[in-house]
Amino acid sequence: MSNLFIPNPKEAESIHILREVAAQFERPVLLFSGGKDSITLVRLAQKAFFPAKIPFPLLHVDTGHNFPETIEFRDKLVEELGLELIVRNVQDSIDQGKVREEKGRYASRNSLQTTTLLDAIEEFKFDACIGGARRDEEKARAKERVFSVRDDFGQWDEKNQRPELFDMLNGKIHVGQNVRVFPISNWTELDVWEYIRTENIEIPSIYFAHKREVFFRDGLIWTANEHVYREQHEEVVEKWVRFRTVGDMTCTAAVLSEATSLDDVVAEIRQSTLSERGARIDDKRSEAAMETRKKVGYF
């Protein structure tokens, strides 16, 4: 028959996962960073529940050091789609004395987010937190489940994970536990970009090449900004750059680029010999940086 609809298997799988979340949990939430992966999740959730609205809110854990372009974009998206947005601030956790601001050359609020996130989970009694992490990003994430059970302390026990057979998802948990859900586990960076291009999904402008004041350190390009520690000898220059991954300013390095359209970006990713997280300052701390953070409840 001529009008046969052939699915994209990765998209169909992600929609299946999102529907399982809505069906198996009472209080799910979508962890939204304003990055391309969580934006893709929002599109997939729209598809999963259309013509109904997305049946869960978005939660943004704001470090206070986000790129203003990301925040603007977030607010516009939420308004356009009529979504519910919850924002919780790392600054509040600092003010409450729960975490201490890092100091010095590599100071970042990235790892402080964990406390704010766990507090929000407790405050709203969220039982499922949907995240945009992908297994191809990082080797500790390659072992992550689609439904990943966390204990009362938000901890990940990587040696004691539930096996996931076929596409059957077991979301049964005890009171106090919650599940981290990763609907785009099986997507690669290129899959995400090609999807954004095909679906014509809007993304924050910092993903495209723009002129920015930056400085060079350890072979990475850092944003020159009041939130980013810089030594006097580290000279600020203006360069054409873009971001491949968007965390906050203190942990995300830029790449030199002239890609100003989605076509350019996709072409650039295809040729790139540097990995996506290669520009993540937070991962460079040690070989096991991600695994260590995941164990204590990081995204």
Binding site: F5, A52, P163, F166, T188, D191
Partner: protein, 419 residues
């Protein structure tokens, strides 16, 4: 087809300790330029630190700290790479005897298995087990990669001996000969992985990568009857869609189209498909694998866990069930115990009536047993609290499999393949 029009092939890899599986995957990634400069640099740095005189590609895949310390792989890791024509997902599963569950898990989402054999050791007990699982899960193809050929002087005789030993296993299995392919490789030296070997002129077949690219794996479920388990009911309750009541789920087995006469289970009510929706598109016919939303012409009672099937293709509906079980948790399965049985998205209670036998995972037969322990495979009879609507695993993968969930820990403790 994915969004770029590439074919998607899902592979499970199985091998024993030290037969170079991680190195083989690392080699595939390296040769397809899927390892980025920063990762290669990390591998070079680590290899040097450990005093190796070659690049240790296994470092590209061994993810967890404990693994790097012990130099072994202890859980299923997923690895992604692509060529111009094909996207690959590799479920890398460890080969120790105690980790059978990991291979079952990895193979459950795969179409093809690559089984590694160390050319110096030949077919060993582990090989039997890996092949047994590939057979149990009815994978579409098996590639037997005979590795470390460089250490046996690229001997054709060694290769043929191993092939003939393996062929005896094939004879005991449900596989046809054309589903099995033997390739002599050296992962370390890169021979016959992505480039043809100059040392083995006697081998005229494809390299491993070329072979994987030309495969056309058919999941068993792709050419059978349509099954649509209802996952979620969509009721927008908005002005524009006031009366909309759609049933969402994944369609398995075969296509469904508008106008098809369908039966709803368990109610047995009949209806007709009024519309098939994917996001804002109205579809005439959906292919298997689609995540769609179906509307029906009648107002019928239907909720999560129900199943929509063509009225002419009803599944079996039974409260008694006999299945092959693989135990994937350290908690054992015993007669008389109760579990939550999850069949697709439907859950019922199940009680173990009888453990008929524990099956030897090496094709050597079965024995009586009171209990199935972690990594055991057995034939088990269950009694259910309500009937489920199933097919046999051999005729319909998705509608013929289930998991058992422990009532107290909520862990997934078994996977079942319905006989």
């Amino acid at each position: 087809m994915d969004i770029q029009g590439r074919k998607l092939i899902k592979i499970a890899t199985a091998g024993s300790v030290d037969d170079g599986k991680s190195t083989l995957i690392g080699r595939l990634l390296y040769d397809t330029k899927s390892l980025t400069t920063d990762k290669i640099e990390a591998i070079e740095r680590n290899s040097k630190q450990r005093g190796y005189d070659y690049l240790d590609f296994s470092l590209a895949t061994d993810g967890l700290v404990a693994e790097r310390e012990q130099g072994i792989t202890i859980d299923v890791a997923h690895i992604y790479f692509n060529t111009d024509k094909t996207n690959f997902i590799v479920a890398d599963t460890p080969g120790h005897v105690e980790y059978t569950r990991n291979m079952v898990t990895g193979a459950s989402t795969s179409q093809v298995a690559i089984i590694l054999i160390d050319a110096r050791k030949g077919v060993i007990e582990q090989t039997y087990r890996h092949f047994f699982i590939a057979n149990l899960l009815r994978l579409s193809h098996v590639v037997v990669a005979i590795n470390k050929m460089d250490l046996v002087d690229y001997s054709e005789e060694t290769f043929l001996k191993i092939k003939s030993d393996f062929d005896q296993l094939v004879a005991k299995s449900d596989f046809d000969e054309d589903q099995i392919t033997f390739i002599p490789v050296s992962a370390l030296k890169g021979e016959n992985v992505t480039k043809s070997s100059t040392h083995m002129p006697w081998y005229v077949g494809n390299t491993l990568l070329d072979h994987l690219e030309v495969l056309e794996p058919q999941d068993l479920e792709e050419s059978t009857v349509a099954r649509f388990p209802v996952q979620y009911v969509i009721r927008p309750k908005t002005e524009a869609y006031h009366d909309f009541r759609g049933f969402s789920g994944v369609l398995y087995g075969n296509s469904l189209k508008v106008g098809d006469r369908v039966t709803l289970l368990p109610s047995g009510n009949e209806s007709t498909i009024k519309g098939i929706h994917f996001f804002d598109q109205e579809i005439e016919e959906a292919a298997p694998g689609s995540s769609v939303t179906i509307t029906l012409t009648e107002e019928v009672d239907c909720s999560r866990g129900d199943m929509i099937v063509k009225s002419s293709e009803l599944p079996q509906s039974e409260k008694m069930l006999s299945a092959t079980i693989c135990q994937v948790n350290s908690k054992g399965l015993r007669v008389g115990q109760k579990y939550i049985l999850q069949h697709g998205v439907n859950r019922v209670l199940a009680k173990v009536d009888q453990i008929e036998a524990k099956v030897h995972a090496d094709f050597s037969g079965a024995e009586a047993s009171e209990e199935l322990r972690l990594n055991d495979i057995g034939k088990v009879h269950f009694r259910l609290s309500k009937p489920i609507h199933f097919d046999s695993y051999s005729s319909h993968k998705s509608n013929g499999s289930f998991i058992l969930i422990d009532e107290s820990s909520y862990d997934t403790i078994s996977v079942g393949f319905i006989n």
